[in-house]
């Protein structure tokens, strides 16, 4: 049902890409085409595309051009090259062969030669590695090319042809049973062979996607189970990260790439916005790690990453309150506007406590208290200290005095 639909749309995207390649076979074409980035500066990955290795500080020399100080990323489908302020990507399907030159005793410099298929303007690409990492890169490159991930999707799409035995309710049930078994087998295989895991990772992620699609379609169909499917929806969305940026794949760029990924994660489906433009670090730590699943980041890493959000211009930054509470705050958040919301709430209810603010604005109690204190500091609220709590009133002193 929805499973078929999911892959069907997948297929049309893929044929669009590979179809355009066929049209260009007229004259010599450049291997590298434009690379689209997300708003945080991360490469926008295709469906089922997984990032394997990110290698910085490389030089590129081809027959047509040379550029230095660039970042080369290997994904399951493409080679991404960012240098001189330009971001470009080339399909792995165009690579015929790749090899490294011999090791030199006197310097760490090694050249990775990539031979392209006929029809490209440059016969060969040469990437110069000066700081190591070339062996892993070549290994990963070979494995990626062998796997031919860009074709497999097409094959799977094509194989969902209709058969008589899959008709009717029993057919649907049988199909679901098969898929469930495949999923179970998938988990087994994936965990026993770590290298095969790299390939299965993509499949696992697409299984998650199918579940996600199923939940959304269920929710749309029967409004009665809304509470339940709402919960499932949240659970699934929290598993939405497809290719975690890990320490081994980003090297010295680790924190920067992580920062960009965190920014993407928090703005995707409006997580930060839903939380009122502000989220405490422990909360961010929990949901980010839960979504990553493996390769969890440490609290120190999170603090480090949060600190560089502002310098990288990612539309959010770290903020520490006098009480010691540390949060990640979206740039769009305005203390004054929040203060006025609370003041309006206080006017409406007569007076509010932090608990009231937390409940009405749907934000955590710690943050509700901070916002109320800030509003008080800005002379929007005044306080009444009772035995059990502090009640905040709209600041009438301005009107009386």
């Amino acid at each position: 049902r929805s499973i078929g639909c999911g892959l069907g749309s997948l297929r049309s995207k893929r044929t669009g890409a590979s179809g355009s390649w066929g049209l260009y076979m007229a004259g010599p074409i450049p291997f590298f085409g434009p690379l689209v980035l997300t708003r945080s500066g991360r490469p926008a990955l295709q469906d089922n595309e997984v990032e394997y290795i990110i290698q910085p500080d490389l030089e590129l020399a081809t027959a047509c051009e040379a550029s230095g100080g660039g970042v080369l990323s290997l994904t399951s489908h493409r080679l991404l090259w960012v240098a001189g302020g330009k971001e470009r990507a080339g399909w792995l399907s165009g690579v015929q062969r790749a090899s490294l030159d011999a090791r030199n005793m006197f310097s760490k410099k090694r050249t990775l030669s990539i031979t392209l298929s006929t029809g490209f303007d440059a016969g060969e690409l040469a990437f110069v590695f000066r700081n190591g990492g070339e062996d892993e890169f070549l290994d990963a490159l070979h494995t990626s090319i062998q796997r031919r991930a860009w074709e497999a999707a097409d094959n799977r799409a094509r194989s969902t042809g209709f058969q008589a035995s899959s008709a009717g309710i029993s057919g649907l049930m049988r199909k679901q049973e098969q898929e469930r078994r495949a999923t179970g087998k998938l988990a087994e295989e994936a965990f026993t062979d770590l290298k095969a895991l790299m390939g299965k990772a993509r499949e696992v992620v697409s299984v998650m996607d199918r579940y996600k699609a199923q939940i959304t379609s269920d929710a749309a169909a029967s409004g009665a189970n809304e509470g339940e499917s709402e919960q499932m929806r949240e659970l699934m969305l929290n598993m939405g990260i497809r290719s975690p940026v890990t320490r081994s794949s980003a090297g010295t760029l680790y924190h920067q790439q992580l920062a960009r990924q965190l920014a993407d994660f928090l703005t995707h489906s409006g997580r930060l916005k839903e939380a009122g433009g502000m989220m405490t670090l422990p909360d961010v730590y929990c949901i980010f790690n839960r979504a990553r699943g493996m390769e969890l980041i440490s609290p120190d890493d999170l603090v480090e990453v949060a600190t560089i959000l502002r310098p990288l211009g990612l539309a959010m930054s770290i903020r520490k309150f006098d009480s010691g509470v540390t949060v990640i705050q979206a740039d769009s958040h305005d203390d004054r506007i929040m203060g006025q919301h609370i003041r309006a709430l206080a006017s409406q209810l007569g007076s509010v406590t932090s608990v009231d603010v937390s409940a009405q604005l749907r934000i955590p109690l710690t943050l509700a208290r901070e916002h109320a204190l800030i509003a008080e500091e800005g002379a929007l609220l005044c306080r009444d200290e009772c035995l059990d709590a502090i009640r905040f009133y709209p600041n009438m002193f301005s009107e009386w005095a």
């Binding site: 008080e376 500091e377 009444d384 009640r391 600041n395 002193f397």
Partner: protein, 188 residues
């Protein structure tokens, strides 16, 4: 009583400086208005009915009372009857801490200067120039009712007379008690 006195936040000493300033100004107004209405010139601090409003179950804390008193003293509208009148916050807080000791505060909803001016003006208009009057006569004499000085506390009258003496408009005659002291007014 004014509207603010019925509002709970009025009885919590506000932590934010800007808001606190306004709050203290309001408290000063409330205290002086009450003193004027009840013709109170001095009171035992802890007996003042203003510090608590039972209707809303709120009480101004000792710290709050100290802040209000300090504000009044700084404005020149109050002074301690006994002891140090230094404007230090510690002195003021310590003073209020002795609330049980029944320390008395003088409230001057008219300042000494005001009273002095009224006194000399009244004396000149009423033909009291040249004669000697006792302080007692001024606040409780046969002619006292109807004057602004009727039932005024003797200490305040004395202060006003002392000020007039400094200004060369009157002379103070020492006496055994405050009431027995006398004053002679000069013409302009």
């Amino acid at each position: 009583p004014p509207e603010c006195w019925s509002s709970p936040p009025f009885f919590t000493l506000q932590p934010v400086a800007v808001t606190r300033e306004k709050q203290l100004t309001l408290w000063a107004d409330v205290v002086l208005d009450w003193a004027k209405t009840t013709n109170t010139w001095s009171m035992a601090l802890h007996k003042c009915p203003l510090w608590a409003n039972p209707t809303i179950s709120r009480r101004l804390s000792d710290e709050g009372v100290a802040a209000v008193v300090a504000h009044l003293i700084a404005k020149g509208n109050a002074e301690w009857e006994t002891g140090d009148n230094g404007s230090g916050g510690a002195a003021a807080a310590a003073a209020v801490g002795e609330v049980g000791a029944g320390r008395r505060l003088r409230i001057m909803w008219k300042t000494v200067a005001n009273v002095a001016n009224e006194l000399i003006a009244h004396a000149r208009e009423s033909g009291m120039i040249g004669s000697v009057y006792t302080v007692f006569e001024l606040h409780s004499g046969d002619d006292a009712p109807g004057t602004p000085f009727h039932q005024m506390d003797p200490w305040l009258l004395r202060r006003a007379i002392v000020l007039l003496e400094e200004q060369g408009k009157a002379a103070l005659f020492e006496g055994a008690t405050s009431d027995a002291e006398g004053v002679k007014f000069f013409s302009a």
